[in-house]
């Protein structure tokens, strides 16, 4: 009876992607395909200075000589880079003074997503309430930036990267490509050539950023690659928390996303970077869905600096993502907290790299993989300790939870220790949601979906509690939605 029920439930598809709708806004496209002309078009559209164009072209030429990596446990059909658009922006593109001026169509899109900007405004306006600044990226161009004035008063720079290139060229020049070099990997190099927009944050010395900074990304145009570029610099003794959340409308053709995120933390600075990712994962047969090839890396350059990555990954057809920390500073700290959910035909190969260069540097890795349907979920993580790094500590915990018997969970830890004083711990578990747990919860009154959501949220708790409040609630709902119909 259980077996049949399981089969039925597995056959029943997970709840249809709720947010699969396209917004009807006129788009301005670059010609299809990828060439030096495309790169020049993007740079010209952005009104970029010469040095930026040169930087892009250098990356593009390098990219032509590179090959797509194949070491991940992913099966990806060849991508035709000439059959895509590399630049699209909503027609209405001048900066607006308030959200009221925002294209109503775009606003409606946000409302359908359940993250209405209006509500965020109210939230932020309430006395004593924590403030959230939203730099809403709609396709490739920032169309609304709020709270800029208050941030300015604190000395925090929070701009689209295009604006930053024009307004703060020295800061951008100093750090762009310093954490993730142009030639780092195939997708990062591609991004360096064609990045369309993204976010720039600079927190000056000794400043605690007065609000959480938040960017909602959204891929909207059909066949438009999305190449975000984010650069966050936390100067000495500063603190910033950055939230990134994403959803995408349903499309049949695969969409390529190759973002680059660079974080720099100087002496005693701390950056907390949180992501909830829910891009269209494709249908139950694996048709459509986003290809997510992201390079995220932090440089903990200063002594006692700290970077914490928290991610909840439920979307995308393919995820290839390893938010990492280069722990160069003495006593610097790197953290990685991750929940990755795969269902149906999704594939995720994700994890982190903790590169210990500084004395006394410490890192913590907590990875929770949840696989359902016929998906594959791989944790891939590197802990490297350089010969000169004395007294390094690392703790790694990788837990996998399986729902059903047709999915896969894989753990691939790489540990390279070249200093004998290092203390490295690695723990890994794999478990299934037990019928005991499900029946126990159901006999107390929860229906099956609610019971699964509860158990899964419990499994992911250590990670979810790292998220800022605004995100934790959203993320909990997302886990439940992502797994509906996946257990019999």
């Amino acid at each position: 009876m259980m077996a049949t029920k399981n089969a039925e439930a597995l056959a029943a598809v997970s709840k249809k992607y709720e947010w699969g709708f396209a917004t009807d806004v006129e788009q301005d496209f670059a010609p299809k395909g990828l060439s030096e002309d495309t790169v020049r078009y993007i740079s010209a559209k952005k009104g970029e200075p010469e040095w930026m164009l040169d930087w892009r072209l250098k990356a593009f030429r390098k990219w032509l000589t590179m090959e797509s990596p194949d070491w991940a446990k992913l099966s990806i059909p060849p991508i035709d880079y000439q059959d895509a658009y590399y630049y699209a922006e909503p027609k209405q593109k001048k900066t607006i003074a308030s959200l009221d001026e925002l294209d109503p169509e775009i606003r409606r899109t946000y409302e359908k997503l359940g993250i209405p900007i209006a509500e965020q405004e109210v939230l932020a306006g309430v006395e004593g309430a924590r403030k959230v600044a939203v730099d809403a990226v709609f396709d490739s161009v920032s169309v609304a930036t709020t709270f800029r004035e208050e941030l300015k008063a604190a000395g925090v720079i929070f701009l689209s990267i295009s604006e930053a290139i024009r307004e703060y060229p020295d800061l951008v020049k100093k750090w762009l490509g310093k954490v993730v070099p142009q030639h780092d990997n195939y997708f990062a190099t591609l991004n360096s050539a064609v990045f369309s927009d993204g976010t720039f944050v600079y927190v000056p010395e000794g400043v605690r950023c007065p609000m959480e900074l938040s960017t909602y990304f959204r891929i909207n145009a059909e066949n438009t690659g999305q190449f975000e570029r984010t650069l966050i610099v936390a100067d000495k003794g500063s603190y910033v928390s950055y939230l990134e959340g994403c959803t995408a409308p349903m499309r049949d053709e695969n969409q390529l996303h190759a973002a680059v995120v660079e974080l720099v933390a100087l002496d005693d600075a701390e950056i907390k970077y949180s992501t909830v990712q829910n891009w269209y994962p494709g249908d139950e047969n694996g048709v459509g869905g986003i290809y997510n090839f992201v390079t995220k890396r932090a440089l903990c350059q200063g002594k006692n600096s700290k970077v914490s990555w928290t991610q909840v990954e439920t979307g995308s057809a393919v995820t290839w993502k390893y938010p990492s920390c280069v722990l160069a500073g003495e006593n610097s700290v790197g953290e990685f907290y991750s929940v990755a959910v795969t269902n149906n035909r999704q594939q995720a190969d994700t994890g982190t790299k903790m590169i210990h260069l500084g004395k006394g540097s410490r890192s913590t890795i907590v990875s929770k993989g949840i696989s359902a349907g016929r998906s594959d979920n791989t944790y891939r993580g590197l802990v490297r300790v350089a010969p000169t790094a004395e007294g390094v500590r690392n703790f790694t915990q990788c837990d996998s939870l399986l729902l059903g018997d047709q999915c896969g969970a894989h753990t691939v830890p790489y540990i390279e220790v070249r200093n004998p004083s290092a203390q490295i711990e690695h723990e890994a578990t794999t478990s299934k949601i037990s019928e005991d747990q499900l029946f126990y919860a159901m006999s107390r009154g929860l229906d099956q979906e609610a019971a699964v959501a509860l158990i899964v949220n419990g499994f992911a708790r250590e990670v979810l509690q790292q998220l800022p409040m605004e995100f934790a609630v959203e993320a909990q709902k997302l886990l439940g939605i992502s797994l509906e119909g996946s257990v019999g």
């Binding site: 029920k5 006999s443 107390r444 009154g445 019971a451």
Partner: protein
């Protein structure tokens, strides 16, 4: 309230219950006793609706409703509570969260308004106090790191919060020391000894019956009830053993 007629059930094709008939009326406490392997726990699971326990013949009605047609959570909403012999651990989920979500799901199923966080907390604390369970335990993950006795007490706290119409308590006395046994017994009486409610106590020993006086005692052997009587039958069983009486 509960009417079981000629119930046959099997697990993996192996017959366990073989024609069990039992009626429980409101205001009654029934004890089911019997040797190991007689089908006591199976009866509890079949009534709770556990997947894998297949009913091949017979019927179970609860307040006139076909109980076997209902999913486990619907049985809960209808007022049936199953106290587990081995309460299950749910890591990362606090007792409070678990019970509040469960209770509110039941209330939603009955078309009632959900309890607010404050209302629920007040209820949960009073039940924990009544059963001598440290209030801190409410914040801890469900049954994780609880001793055997704490788990059983926690089951009773859950029962108190949910306030069911009908409780099936499977070996609730096992793993309890004398003091805990009394507290749990008092809890059952307080929560369930009411004219509108009924209890089915599944137990191997009669010691819990010193605290919760049954109105009827039934002997379950080889999948059916072989003997029924009053509270004195439990004492007779204790003295003479199952082999003699169940046969």
């Amino acid at each position: 309230m509960l009417k079981i007629e000629d119930l046959h059930a099997e697990i993996d094709g192996k017959p366990i219950l073989k024609g069990l008939t039992l009626s429980v009326n409101a205001g009654e406490v029934h004890a089911i006793m019997g040797p190991n392997g007689a089908g006591k726990s199976t009866l509890g699971y079949v009534l709770g609706g556990r997947p894998g326990y297949e009913v091949t013949e017979g019927s179970v009605t609860f307040d006139g409703q076909d109980l076997l047609e209902l999913e486990p959570h619907e049985r809960a909403a209808a007022g049936v509570f199953l106290g587990f012999q081995y309460p299950v651990e749910i890591p990362g989920v606090s007792n409070v969260q678990f019970l509040r979500e469960s209770l509110n799901a039941q209330r939603a199923g009955r078309g009632e308004k959900p309890l607010s966080g404050a209302e629920f907390l007040k209820l949960a604390r009073s039940q924990a106090d009544a059963l001598g369970l440290d209030q801190e335990m409410l914040k801890r993950p469900v049954n994780v790191g609880f001793s055997g006795g704490e788990k059983k007490r926690n089951e009773m706290v859950q029962m108190g919060i949910i306030d069911p119409k009908f409780a099936i308590l499977d070996e609730t006395d096992s793993g309890l020391d004398i003091d805990a046994l009394r507290i749990v017994g008092d809890g059952i009486n307080r929560i369930m000894r009411q004219p509108t409610k009924a209890v089915l106590l599944i137990t191997h020993y009669q010691r819990l019956l010193d605290y919760v006086k049954p109105d009827f005692v039934h002997v379950l052997a080889d999948g059916r009830i072989t003997r029924s009587g009053g509270a004195e039958l439990a004492h007779q069983l204790e003295r003479e053993g199952y082999a003699e009486i169940a046969a």
